[in-house]
């Protein structure tokens, strides 16, 4: 391993600019003549719009334009789309209402876009926006996913009777029923997977621009996938043809999924820029982020696990209601279906699984993918069930898991996936050792002496990452393929630009991708620049989410770099005057058994461009190659996290004392960055388990609409995390990478709740386990957990 190659903990190249304030985020960019957009948003969760009076606003100083849904409709601007078709059990396609970018006669959540005001300055646009008067007729709001489908509830979209978007299922119902019939023990739990608000540090922003000379549009936006944004804006919303639309996602300050989606504000800024003939900028404020960024999770689930007398799992049955919010966001439909149920087998041999999911509309912000997307929800179901089942049958939770681990690969689960590689026992063994599981009874006794309750919780998670084989997702309803593309452009002096369709918004691609290329081409890492986030530079790409940029994005780069080497060897053959087949390339040096002369990579690059040593008939000049990589399977990162905590029953305060994370991510490109991803993921998962929760009141007002009420995890909420790795390289990509971006957020919530319920001695607590919730739960007496 070289000091900067694969496996080296190289310091992040991009951090110099980020920590010295030299990053260029969308809001840092200002275009000549730029005007400012402010959105008039609905204060009602559900209402019809009787009239919008824009007269006073239009006369307000500095107001350039006021547009409403009528203007959007008149210009035939399309609505937002949901790119994944789900079919119900009965074969019918999902029932989706329209998702207009500015309300068409009705608003469906607090924060819904009603009108936009464009002003010379931001303050003037705000002043004018206050002068837009909207006459609403309030309708009853539907807020609670558990009851949204009940008779008598208000109807949110005419297209979706009973507010039901789909009633989907996966698995073999009959086999599951038969297995439950034979069970010696059944563990049943009811769970709520709490709704989360992503809260990236950089709020969303957009600048739309129109060039009348070229008749083309440019959008700067906070996106995790600018090419997908361009595709949707061109092909579905119809703002401009793809070749007349440039989308740039510059530095982006965190996304966690919320910046995958195509949002109304981006569409409106682009459209309005053409209308007023000036660039139009919008930067969301924190309140808008709370109200109108896509939220995450929000499931209500009943799950049952059937066991035989030996503690072997026979079957799993799951019924989930998933809150999709008021409109279907870009990938909303896929998250509680194909990103969820296929993970319900966990790390275990489960012969039969049946899962039913109702996708439900409510008068709340749209819900879509959020770090982990479906997989944290699945892991929460499986790992809570495993823990409770172990307790109910009097088994050690670690032993019970071991007994049911998948041990041979490939392993086909009953829910689509085929696990390709893993060693679950190795992670468990290491985790137990690092967590000093043997010393737990003594620590529990020590806590009890102080009046504290100590508990331990396991989470043996698995995820499907490296999203995703295009054919596979196509057969499941995806509207796109999920390969990745790359181009390696070698300059005549031997420095390299790597163009990637992945997008970095905190992941450190400028470093890790450069590590790969510098190692492959044998050039110093500072000779490699990574270019991403601009549709005029990078030909196409599917973006970054689902822990896919290492496994899929880097594999494309790997392929392109290989092609560069093949071509460079040809060039070297001509220069060295030896047969091409005799040329060897290693550590940046071209050599041949046929000569004792050698060439460096930059020397060959120069020869490729000056083209003096070969004729046009023999070889094309230049050194630039592209590649697309489409994975043949998902990747399956897995691991064991153990949380140990102490509860003060007097106050309900819970202090996490130790956190052990043993993960199998396959090949690690940069272990320092991987650890950072685990830290962040665990923090987010602990946030979900103990702190975060979006609360709407009965009328659909978001109560947790600021940091005064929405609790984000802070450094002090976490202990120093013990991290260790096991590795079974992924066989379905050339680098053996599995992905690490979501693991912590997937693993953490059940580990925390399993630890809290262990400490409390009963299972009756929901996320977030706030001090209030824990204090209340601590009032209840422990239930006896013996085998019945």
């Amino acid at each position: 391993m070289s000091a900067t190659g694969i496996g080296a903990p190289v310091r992040r190249k991009e951090d110099q600019r980020f920590i010295t304030g030299k990053g260029q985020y969308t809001d840092d960019i200002n275009r000549a003549g730029q005007a400012y957009a402010v959105f008039v948003r609905s204060p009602h969760a559900h209402a019809t719009i009787k009239r919008i009076d824009t007269q006073a606003a239009a006369k307000s100083p500095g107001c350039l334009a006021v547009y409403t849904g009528a203007d959007i409709a008149a210009d035939k601007v399309g609505g937002l789309i949901c790119g994944w078709m789900i079919h119900s059990k009965d074969g019918s396609p999902m029932k989706a209402g329209a998702h207009p970018v500015l309300a068409q006669g009705k608003v469906r959540y607090v924060g819904d876009h009603v009108a936009v005001v464009i002003g010379e300055t931001l303050a003037q646009a705000r002043d004018a926006a206050e002068r837009v008067t909207v006459d609403y007729e309030a309708l009853p709001a539907v807020v609670d996913v558990a009851t949204a489908q009940s008779a008598g509830q208000a109807q949110i979209h005419a297209e979706a009777p009973g507010n039901t978007v789909y009633q989907w299922h996966l698995g073999d119902k009959a086999a599951v029923e038969a297995a439950f019939g034979n069970a010696k023990h059944v563990t049943k739990i009811d769970l709520v997977n709490n709704r989360l608000i992503p809260n990236a540090i950089e709020p969303r922003a957009a600048i739309g621009e129109y060039d009348p000379g070229q008749d083309s549009l440019t959008l700067h936006t906070t996106s995790q996938n600018p090419h997908v944004a361009r595709l949707v804006l061109a092909a579905f919303i119809g703002l401009a043809p793809e070749h007349k639309l440039r989308v740039i996602a510059p530095d982006v300050g965190g996304g966690f999924g919320s910046k995958i989606f195509i949002y109304a504000e981006e569409v409106v800024c682009l459209w309005a820029a053409r209308k007023i003939g000036r660039p139009v900028k919008w930067t969301g404020d924190r309140t808008e982020a709370f109200l109108a960024d896509a939220h995450g999770r929000d499931h209500v689930t009943t799950a049952e696990l059937a066991l035989d007398g030996e503690g072997k799992i026979l079957a799993l049955r799951v019924k989930t209601k998933a809150n999709l919010g008021s409109y279907l966001s870009t990938f909303a439909s896929s998250v509680p279906t194909y990103l969820y149920a296929p993970l319900l087998s966990g790390q275990y041999n489960i012969p039969a699984i049946y899962c039913e999911v109702d996708g439900v509309y409510t008068n709340t912000a749209p819900v879509d993918a959020y770090r982990g997307a479906g997989r944290p929800e699945a892991t929460f179901v499986v790992e809570r069930l495993m823990e409770v089942a172990a307790r109910q049958t009097g088994r050690d939770p670690a032993e019970f898991r071991r007994k049911n681990f998948v041990t041979s690969f490939p392993h086909a689960t009953p829910v689509i996936m085929t696990y390709d590689a893993g060693d679950y026992e190795a992670s468990m063994r290491k985790a137990l050792e690092l967590a000093d599981y043997a010393g737990l009874p003594a620590r529990k006794a020590e806590s009890a002496k102080k009046g504290m309750k100590r508990g331990i919780g396991f989470s043996a998670y698995i995820e499907a990452c490296g999203i995703a084989p295009s054919q596979a997702v196509g057969s499941l309803g995806a509207g796109v393929g999920l390969w990745e593309s790359a181009e390696v452009r070698v300059n005549p002096t031997g420095s390299v630009e790597v163009l990637t369709g992945s997008h970095s918004h905190g992941q450190g691609h400028e470093t890790t991708f450069a590590q790969l290329v510098s190692q492959r081409l044998g050039i110093p890492i500072d000779q490699v620049t990574v270019v991403h986030g601009d549709t005029d530079k990078v030909q196409f790409g599917m973006g970054t989410y689902g822990s896919r940029s290492g496994a899929v994005g880097m594999s494309a780069i790997f392929k392109a770099a290989d092609k560069v080497i093949v071509k460079a060897k040809k060039v070297a053959g001509f220069v060295l005057e030896v047969p091409e087949e005799s040329v060897d390339f290693k550590d940046g040096i071209f050599s041949s058994t046929a000569t004792n002369k050698t060439l460096t990579f930059p020397e060959v690059a120069l020869q490729a461009y000056i083209a003096h040593k070969f004729s046009g008939a023999q070889l094309e000049p230049g050194l630039k190659e592209g590649a697309f990589f489409d994975p043949t399977n998902f990747t399956f990162p897995s691991g064991v996290h153990i949380c140990e905590l102490e509860i003060d029953p007097e106050t309900g305060t819970t202090r996490i004392d130790r956190w052990t994370a043993v993960d199998d991510f396959g090949t690690l490109v940069n272990p320092m960055i991987v650890e950072g991803q685990v830290h962040g993921g665990v923090a987010q998962g602990v946030g979900q388990a103990m702190l975060e929760g979006a609360v709407y009141d009965r009328n659909g007002q978001l109560i947790t609409a600021s940091f005064m009420d929405y609790t984000m995890p802070r450094a002090g909420d976490l202990p120093s995390i013990k991290i260790a790795m096991t590795s079974t390289p992924c066989p379905s990509n050339p680098l053996g990478i599995k992905g690490c971006g979501e693991a912590g957020a997937i693993a953490a919530p059940p580990a925390v709740i399993n630890a809290i319920t262990d400490a409390l001695g009963h299972e009756d607590i929901a996320m977030p386990a706030t001090p209030l919730a824990v204090w209340r739960a601590a009032q209840k007496s422990p239930t006896k957990m013996a085998a019945e």
Binding site: A123, R126, T651, G652, L691, M708, D709, L772, W775, R776
Partner: protein
Amino acid sequence: MYAFQYHRPQSVADAAKLLASNSEAKLLAGGHTLLPTMKQRLAAPKAIVDLARIAELKGIDKKGNALVIGAMTTHAEVADSAIVRSAIAGLAEVAAVIGDPHVRHRGTIGGSVANNDPAADYPAALLALGATIATNKREIKADDFFKGLFTTALQDGEIIARISFPVPAKFGYAKFPNPASRYALVGVAVAQTGSGVRVAVTGAGKDGVFRHTAAEAALGKGWSAQALSGLTTDANLMMSDIHADAAYRAHLVGVMARRAVA
């Protein structure tokens, strides 16, 4: 934010004049409450009178048996002050648990007291210690100053100049922070003063900071956590929100009172 006029007087007298001549003027101290509300357009003062350059509002002093803190003294200055630590160490602790470092380096004792947020920490300390609030016009006892949620005895044009704390025999403060905001979900200050035991509770009461007479009576009989073991607090008088219902707050008042004494 809406447009406003900005003034930065050098003396309390000048500040008072500016207030008197601008009916819609607001004093600006650390700005940690005022500026966010202005940014959200929830407050729209026509003029701002910034107290930042008024030297007479700053500083910490020991005068006889009293600790005197200027209104524009930041929470960080109080937390770090050797004078405060030696006179009323627990008061430095009160300042040290307010917000986060940013807040403590901007927020001021005068601003906090004038604002009388029902979840702020200082009001409990002032009330328990029997402090006196000196304004440009008069002196007001803490018992007469805090009048309910965000309401004080301050009249139009009145500027807090300094706060004087008689040094107690004993003082302690225990805070249970709101998980999100880190303001007090329940904060209890206990003091043994020349005029007896005083216990004040912030964060919990429907009407803001209040004196807990039952706790005072119990501690009057013996200064120990045990003396408070049977203490109850009427949940009907407690606030209720997503972070804590009234029963939980009432319970925490007892727990925090015992921890403040210990």
